[in-house]
Amino acid sequence: MVMTSALPLPLKIQHLSVSRQGKLLLDSVNATIESTGITIILGPNGAGKSLLLRIAHGLERPDAGSLRWDQHIPKPEESWRTFVFQKPIFLQRSVLANLEYVLSLHKVVKIRKNLLIQQALQHTGLVKLSAQSARILSGGEQQRLNIARAWVLEPKVMLLDEPTAELDPSGVATIERLIKKIAQQNTKIIMTTHSLDQAKRLAHDILFLHQGRLIEHTPAKVYFAQPQTSLAEDFLAGKLLD
């Protein structure tokens, strides 16, 4: 049975604005994100990408405007949607216990827990490391566990905030492979990055942000072939944006 009808999408963002300490960080953003493919939020540092993603998970509140998952305001405790940080914090427990913790938070019954944990460990290649302390994993392994921890709940939507920013090229490739695999299993992916190459490799559609404003929201093919704005053109050319 295909559950696509139950996806809490589209994500509707209307006139979304956030300011902190007198600085406008998101400036009246309007967008509708549909259920198909990987959506990449692209832009230079400080564009407001992470903030937008945090609002989408209910971690921050907008000052004005709204963000709704199919008419529904997000709360972080909803298990159909998970969030992956750039720098994960793990509990001082084993890899397995870190996964188990998330399932306990969401009151998953024990038999199902074991099944989900084994699945997540296999998908992310962490089976052999399951008994090891999460805190002593390498950077690449930590990020795989970070993804596993978000995947273990079998979410309908996964939000990832610069998940490969701290990794070496092979680490980046591994995580990208995982992200594609997750997307293929009907989990909607929305992820931020400042890497053009990564956006090219993964994106179905692109939201290009600059200084808190949504400059364009176009299919990735269009974005890279015929950018609609001069800012996007400059960003693609590697120029400094002002």
Binding site: H57, L59, P76, E77, E78, S79, T82, F83, F85, P88, I89, L91, Q92, R93, S94, Y101, V102, L105, H106, S133, R135, I136, R149
Partner: protein, 234 residues
Amino acid sequence: MNDFSQAFLKAIQLILNLDPNLIEIVALSLRVSLTAVLIASLIGLPLGAALALYKFFGRGLLVAILNTFMGLPPVVVGLVVYLILSRSGPLGALGLLFTPTAMVIAQVCLITPIIAALTRQTILDANNEFHAQLRALGAKSLSMMNTLLWETRYSLVTNVFAGFGRAIAEVGAVLIVGGNINHNTRVMTTSIALETSKGNIELALALGMILITLSLIVTSAVMSARHAAYNVYS
């Protein structure tokens, strides 16, 4: 120096002879202080965590009071507990004055603020590290508090033993509410005070040495347990 060497010999002698009076006193000291630490921890750990994590009216004042009470003079605590437990006091009918229970109560009053204030700081630091991550994983406030208490368990053990150190070493409160009654409420610190005032410096010093050694043993046992556990997962 002569006093010290003689006291040292005396201490060894007391221990080797398993002096029944000594054993009774040591046992009561440990019983009273460990019970007090247990009760103070049951109150102080959740209280400290709640003060770190929940915002409510009067929290600032409560924190200020707690921090002040960390340095409460034991004699004052003893006096207040004495007044409450004395025959004409509000809890006089319970007949607890001059019993080990009264001593436990006084020590609980003394060390709960210490454990709570230290716990608050520990949890506050851990919360800075974990809050966003745990929130994103879906933890609500109660499971957040439980997780932080568990994650900081090694530091919390240290906090609890700061409380134990204070309890086992204080004399003012237990002296006032216990009365230093032989075979009944006499503990190490009160006997040291008594023997000193009687002029038995040697015995007093010997007891002092045993007290310090005892604290050392308890503390290092806990520390090595903590160390062993800590090495497993971090």
